[in-house]
C-alpha cells in the first residue's frame, strides 16, 4: 500500500526571492484526515499548490497517490487529487452548477452518460442534488462551498485537499460542512484557521510556520501545548 501523500524535504522560493517552503517533509497514510494549521504566510497554500503541480518545487521529492508529481504525471495527479480552493468563486467558473461539477470528468474525456452519473453522485454526496441546473453565481456561500467540493468529488479523487473550507460560513453552514467532511471516507488534508473544527474532526495536526513544519502529531497532544500554539500565532479553542 502506498502513502497517499509523501513529501520529502521540499523547498520552494517565489520569483521575488521570498522563501515559502524551506525543507518540508510530510507523510500521510491513505484515509488519514490531517489538519494543516499555521499563521498567514506560513506556506500552507504554497504547499497545497505543489500537491497538484501548479507550483513546482526547486528541490525535494513529492509523491501523491503513488505518483511522483512531475510534469509528465501532472494530468494523472490532478485526476487523483481533488483540490478545493478557498474562494468558491474561483472554483465555480461555469454558468451552471452542472457544468462546473461536470468539468473534471468532461476534461478527462468520459462519455456523457458517465459524466451525468458522476455529477449526480457528487451532488448527492454533498446533498445538493436539486441544484444541478442552478446558476452558480446566485448561490449562498455555504451552497457554493458544497458545490465546490462536488466539483472535485466528481473526479473520484484518492485525496481531497481543502483550503480554508469554513472561512466565511455562518454557524449553520459551517456545522453542516463539518458533518459532510466527517462523512467522507477519503484521505484529507485541510488547511485551516478553524481550531474548533480541527479538534472535532482531525485526529492529526500539522503546524507550519515560516516555510517549515514545526510540529506534527496527535491533535489532542498538540492542542494542550499552549506554549507551542502561542509561539506560532495559534489559539487553543
Amino acid at each position: 500500500m502506498h502513502h497517499s501523500i509523501e513529501i520529502d524535504n521540499l523547498k520552494f522560493s517565489y520569483p521575488d526571492g521570498h522563501t515559502a517552503l524551506n525543507g518540508v517533509s510530510l507523510h500521510i497514510e491513505p484515509c488519514e484526515k490531517v489538519a494543516l494549521v499555521g499563521p498567514n504566510g506560513a506556506g500552507k497554500s504554497t504547499l497545497i499548490l505543489h500537491l497538484t503541480g501548479i507550483l513546482e518545487g526547486q528541490s525535494g521529492a513529492l509523491r501523491v497517490a503513488g505518483l511522483p508529481v512531475t510534469k509528465p504525471n501532472f494530468g494523472k495527479v490532478r485526476a487523483r487529487v481533488g483540490l478545493v480552493f478557498q474562494n468558491p468563486d474561483d472554483q465555480l467558473f461555469s454558468p451552471t452548477v452542472f457544468e462546473d461539477v461536470a468539468f473534471g470528468p468532461m476534461y478527462q474525456g468520459l462519455e456523457m452518460d458517465q459524466v451525468r452519473q458522476r455529477v449526480e453522485e457528487a451532488l448527492g454526496v454533498v446533498h445538493m442534488s436539486d441544484y444541478a441546473s442552478r446558476v452558480s453565481h446566485h448561490l449562498s456561500m455555504g451552497e457554493k462551498k458544497r458545490i465546490s467540493i462536488a466539483t472535485v468529488l466528481s473526479m473520484k479523487p484518492e485525496v481531497l485537499i481543502l483550503d480554508e473550507p469554513t472561512a466565511g460560513l455562518d454557524p449553520r453552514a459551517r456545522r453542516s460542512l463539518i458533518h459532510l467532511l466527517d462523512d467522507l471516507d477519503i484521505t484529507m488534508l485541510v488547511s485551516t484557521h478553524d481550531m474548533r473544527m480541527v479538534r472535532e474532526l482531525f485526529p492529526r495536526m500539522v503546524i507550519m510556520d515560516e516555510g517549515r513544519i514545526v510540529a506534527d502529531g496527535s491533535t489532542q497532544t498538540l492542542m494542550n501545548d499552549e506554549v507551542l500554539l502561542n509561539a506560532h500565532g495559534l489559539e487553543k479553542p
Binding site: 517565489y14 504554497t46 499548490l49 490532478r78 483540490l83 467558473f93 473534471g104
Partner: protein, 268 residues
C-alpha cells in the same frame, strides 16, 4: 502569490528617479509632442531626439538594453502605419500584385513610414523611462498638477489599484481550472475535451470575472459613500516645486522647442 509583473516601476536612486514626478511627466509629454510634430524625413533631428532619449536612459540607470527591449511594444502600432507606403503619391519604387489589386510603393510613402516608425519608437522609449522611474501614485499627482480632470485621475488611480486584484483573481481562476484538468487512468480516453467545449469554459470564466469585477465596483463605491464620498474628488495640496526644478523644466522645454524650430526651418 500575487501578480507583480504588471507594475513597470523599478526602484532606483538615479538622477531621473529623483527628479520631481511633475517635471518628468511634463517633459515626457512635451518630448512626445515635439517628436510627433517634427516634419517627415528630418533625419538629423530624429538622431538628436534619439540621442536625448538614450541619454535619459543612461541617466536613469535602468539600462539601455532594458528600455530598448521594452520598446518592442511599439512594433504592433507601427504596423498600423504600413498602408502609408502605398497611399502617398510620388515616384514609384516597386509594385506588388495581390489578386486583383496592385500596390505601388512610393519613395515619399516609404520616407513617411520610416519617419512614423522612428518617431513612435523614440516616443515609446521616453514613456517607458517615465513609467519605470516614477511610482504610479506620483504620476497621478503629476497629472493632477497639470490639471488633468480630477475624475479622470481618480479613475486612473482606481484602475491601477484594482488591476492587480483583477489579475490575481484571473490567476486563481486559472489555477482552479488547472487543478481539475486531469487524465483518467482508463485507457483510450483523450483528455482535454473538444476545442468548442474549452472555448465555452473559457467564456464562462471571462463572464465570472466580469460579474465579480462588476460586483466589486459596487462594493467599492459603497465603501466610498460610507466614508463620505459625494462624487467630488478632493485631494491634498501639492508640494511646492524647488527652484532647481523650475530651472530644469525651463531649460529642457526651451531646448526641445528650439529643436522643433530648427527642424521646421530646415525640413518643414
Amino acid at each position: 502569490m500575487h501578480v507583480h509583473f504588471l507594475d513597470p516601476y523599478r526602484s532606483g536612486h538615479s538622477t531621473i528617479h529623483q527628479l520631481d514626478a511633475r517635471i518628468k511627466f511634463v517633459l515626457a509629454v512635451a518630448f512626445i509632442f515635439i517628436t510627433a510634430l517634427t516634419p517627415i524625413a528630418a533625419w538629423p533631428v530624429y538622431i538628436l531626439l534619439f540621442a536625448l532619449a538614450i541619454s535619459v536612459e543612461v541617466l536613469s540607470e535602468l539600462g539601455v538594453g532594458f528600455v530598448l527591449r521594452r520598446a518592442v511594444l511599439a512594433l504592433p502600432f507601427i504596423l498600423a502605419a504600413l498602408p502609408v507606403i502605398f497611399t502617398i503619391a510620388g515616384p514609384a519604387l516597386f509594385s506588388l500584385s495581390i489578386g486583383p489589386w496592385t500596390l505601388t510603393a512610393t519613395i515619399p510613402g516609404i520616407e513617411r513610414f520610416v519617419s512614423i516608425a522612428l518617431k513612435s519608437w523614440i516616443s515609446v522609449q521616453v514613456a517607458i523611462v517615465l513609467a519605470t522611474s516614477t511610482p504610479f501614485p506620483d504620476l497621478l499627482v503629476a497629472m493632477r498638477a497639470v490639471h488633468v480632470p480630477r475624475l479622470l485621475v481618480a479613475i486612473f488611480g482606481l484602475m491601477w489599484r484594482y488591476l492587480f486584484v483583477f489579475a490575481d483573481e484571473a490567476l486563481r481562476l486559472i489555477r482552479a481550472r488547472t487543478a481539475r484538468s486531469g487524465e483518467a487512468d482508463l485507457a483510450g480516453l483523450k483528455a482535454g475535451g473538444s476545442l468548442l467545449w474549452r472555448a465555452r469554459i473559457a467564456g464562462g470564466m471571462a463572464g465570472n470575472l466580469f460579474l465579480r469585477a462588476f460586483e466589486r465596483s459596487d462594493r467599492i463605491y459603497m465603501a466610498m459613500v460610507a466614508r463620505g464620498y459625494d462624487g467630488e474628488v478632493r485631494a491634498a495640496p501639492l508640494p511646492h516645486l524647488r527652484p532647481v526644478d523650475w530651472v530644469i523644466l525651463t531649460v529642457a522645454l526651451t531646448s526641445l522647442l528650439s529643436l522643433l524650430i530648427f527642424a521646421f526651418l530646415f525640413w518643414g
